[in-house]
C-alpha cells in the first residue's frame, strides 16, 4: 500500500514540477524585481544581522560572514518550505474539491519551490566564497547530503501539519512563532561552540540545529560530523517523514470534506 502510493507520486513527478514552476512564476512575475529578490532577500538579511553581530555582539566566529550567510540561506529554506507546505492544502482547496490526484503532491511541490529558491540563493553564497577568497575544504562534498536531509525533514513536517492545518488552522499561526523562535535557538547567527555543554546538547535535540551545525563544520572548517550526530539526524528526519506520510494518508479524505 505504502510503496504503491509512493510510486504513484513518483509517476506524477511532472505534476510536482508544474506546481513548483507555477509557484515560482506567480512569486517572481508579480514582483517588480522578480528573481532578483531571491538574491536580495538573503543579502539584506545578512547585512542587517552582520552589522548587529559584529558591532554590538562582537561575534568571534571564524569566517563569520560565510558562517552567517550559509545559516541564513539554509534556515530560510526550511522556514519557507514548511510555511508554504503547511498552507499548500488550504491554498488549493478549489482544485482538491474538483478532481482527484495524489494530494501529497501539494506539500511536496511547495518544498520543491523552496528548494529552487535556495538553489538561487546559493549563487550568492558562492559569490561570497570567491569574494572572500575562501578555499572550501574537501568536506564540503557532504553538503548536498545535508541539504537532502533538510529537504526530507521539510517534506515530513509539511505533510504532517498541512493535513492537520485544514481542521486546526491555528497551526499556521503557531508555526510562524515556532519559526521565529527557531531562528534564534538554532546556530544561524551564532555558533554553539561557546555554549555550556549541557545547553549545547539541549539545543542539538533540534534536527535543524544538527543539520546547520554539520553544514557549518563541513563547509567552513573541514570537520566531518560524528557518526552519532549523523545517525541521530537521519533517524529523526526519516521518523518525521514517515509520521508525516502516514498522518497525511490517514486524514486525507477527511480533510477534503473539511475544506
Amino acid at each position: 500500500m505504502a510503496h504503491e502510493t509512493i510510486s504513484q507520486i513518483w509517476k506524477r513527478r511532472s505534476l510536482i514540477r508544474t506546481f513548483a514552476i507555477n509557484d515560482l512564476v506567480i512569486r517572481y512575475k508579480s514582483s517588480g524585481l522578480g528573481v532578483v529578490w531571491s538574491l536580495l532577500e538573503p543579502l539584506l538579511m545578512f547585512g542587517v544581522l552582520y552589522v548587529i553581530f559584529t558591532n554590538v555582539f562582537k561575534s568571534t566566529v571564524e569566517n563569520y560572514p560565510l558562517y552567517l550567510l550559509l545559516g541564513i540561506i539554509m534556515w530560510s529554506f526550511f522556514s519557507r518550505a514548511t510555511t508554504m507546505g503547511i498552507g499548500s492544502i488550504i491554498g488549493r482547496a478549489g482544485i482538491i474539491k474538483q478532481i482527484y490526484f495524489p494530494r501529497e503532491i501539494l506539500p511536496i511541490s511547495s518544498c520543491v519551490t523552496a528548494l529552487v529558491m535556495m538553489g538561487i540563493e546559493f549563487g550568492v553564497f558562492f559569490a561570497f566564497v570567491v569574494v572572500f577568497q575562501f578555499l572550501p575544504p574537501i568536506s564540503i562534498l557532504i553538503l548536498p547530503g545535508l541539504l537532502f536531509l533538510l529537504f526530507c525533514l521539510s517534506v515530513g513536517i509539511s505533510l504532517f501539519l498541512s493535513v492537520l492545518n485544514v481542521k486546526f488552522r491555528d497551526i499556521q499561526s503557531v508555526w510562524g512563532v515556532v519559526m521565529y523562535a527557531g531562528f534564534f535557538i538554532s546556530p544561524v547567527i551564532y555558533s554553539l561552540d561557546t555554549f555550556p555543554e549541557e545547553l549545547r546538547r539541549f539545543l542539538l535535540i533540534n534536527p535543524v540545529a544538527q543539520i546547520l551545525e554539520m553544514a557549518h563544520n563541513s563547509v567552513l572548517y573541514g570537520t566531518l560530523p560524528s557518526l552519532s550526530s549523523v545517525a541521530y539526524t537521519v533517524g529523526v528526519t526519516f521518523g518525521i517523514l514517515i509520521l508525516g506520510y502516514f498522518t497525511f494518508r490517514h486524514y486525507q479524505f477527511k480533510m477534503v470534506e473539511e475544506l
Binding site: R12, G94, I95, Y100, V256
Partner: protein, 250 residues
Amino acid sequence: MSDNAIEVRSLCKTFKIDYNKSVSHTAEELNDKRYSSDKIEVLNDISFEVKKGEMFGIVGRNGIGKTTLLRIIAGIYKPDSGTVKVDGSLIPLLSLGTGFDIELDAKDNIIMYGKILGFSDKEIQQKILEILRFAELEKFANVKLKKFSTGMVMRLAFTTAMQIDPDIILVDEILGVGDVAFQKKSYDAFMSFRQKKKTIVYVSQDVNSINTLCNRAMLLNKGRIESIGSPSKVVNDYLGIFEKPKESIK
C-alpha cells in the same frame, strides 16, 4: 465490467455536522430519520450502474447528495461503505473554473489542468491552441485569469475538459455556460461527445434537458434512490415530490 462504465454498489455516506455552528433545523428535518444528533446520512445504500455510451441523468432537491455522489464516483470523497467501480478515464466537471489558479494565465492553467488529469507535456502542448480556439480565448492566452470574466473562466474550464477527451464526464449543473453563441457550441460539443459513445453522468435541476438529453435517469431523495429508469417517469416522480403535501413526504 464489460458494458458498464460506472458501477455503484451499496454506497453509504454520512457527514458529521456541528449543529452549534450550523443553522437550526426545521421540524420536518428533525423528524427525518436521516438526521441523527450530529450526523447526516447523505447516501444510504445506493446501488446503480451507468452503461457505456449512456447519458445518465440525476435529479433531486438541493442538498440531497447529488454532488456528494459525483465526488465519490470521482474519488474525491471516500464512501463510508460500498464500492464504486469506474471503467475508463474520467473527468468531473463539478463547478467550473474553481480548480484554476487566478494568478496564472490561461495557458499555464491549461497545462496545470492537463497535468493533474495525467497528460504528458507533449499531449498538452498539442491541445493548448485547440482549447484556446474553441473557447474563443486565443487573444487571452497570456492574460492572468483574474482579469477574465466569470463566463470566460467557465468557457476555458469546460473546453479544457472536453478537449482532453476522457471516456466519462460527470457534469454538475454546469450547462448553459457562457453567452448564447458559446452555449450552442458547448451543446454541440456535448452531443458529439455523446455520439462518440462516451458516458455522461448529468446532474441538473433543468428537467427539460434531463427529458430530452438523457437515456436514463435517477431520482435521489432522502438518501435513497426513489426511482430509476426512463427520464420521463423519473422527472414526473421528481415533480411529484413538490406537489405532495408535507405530511406524506416521510
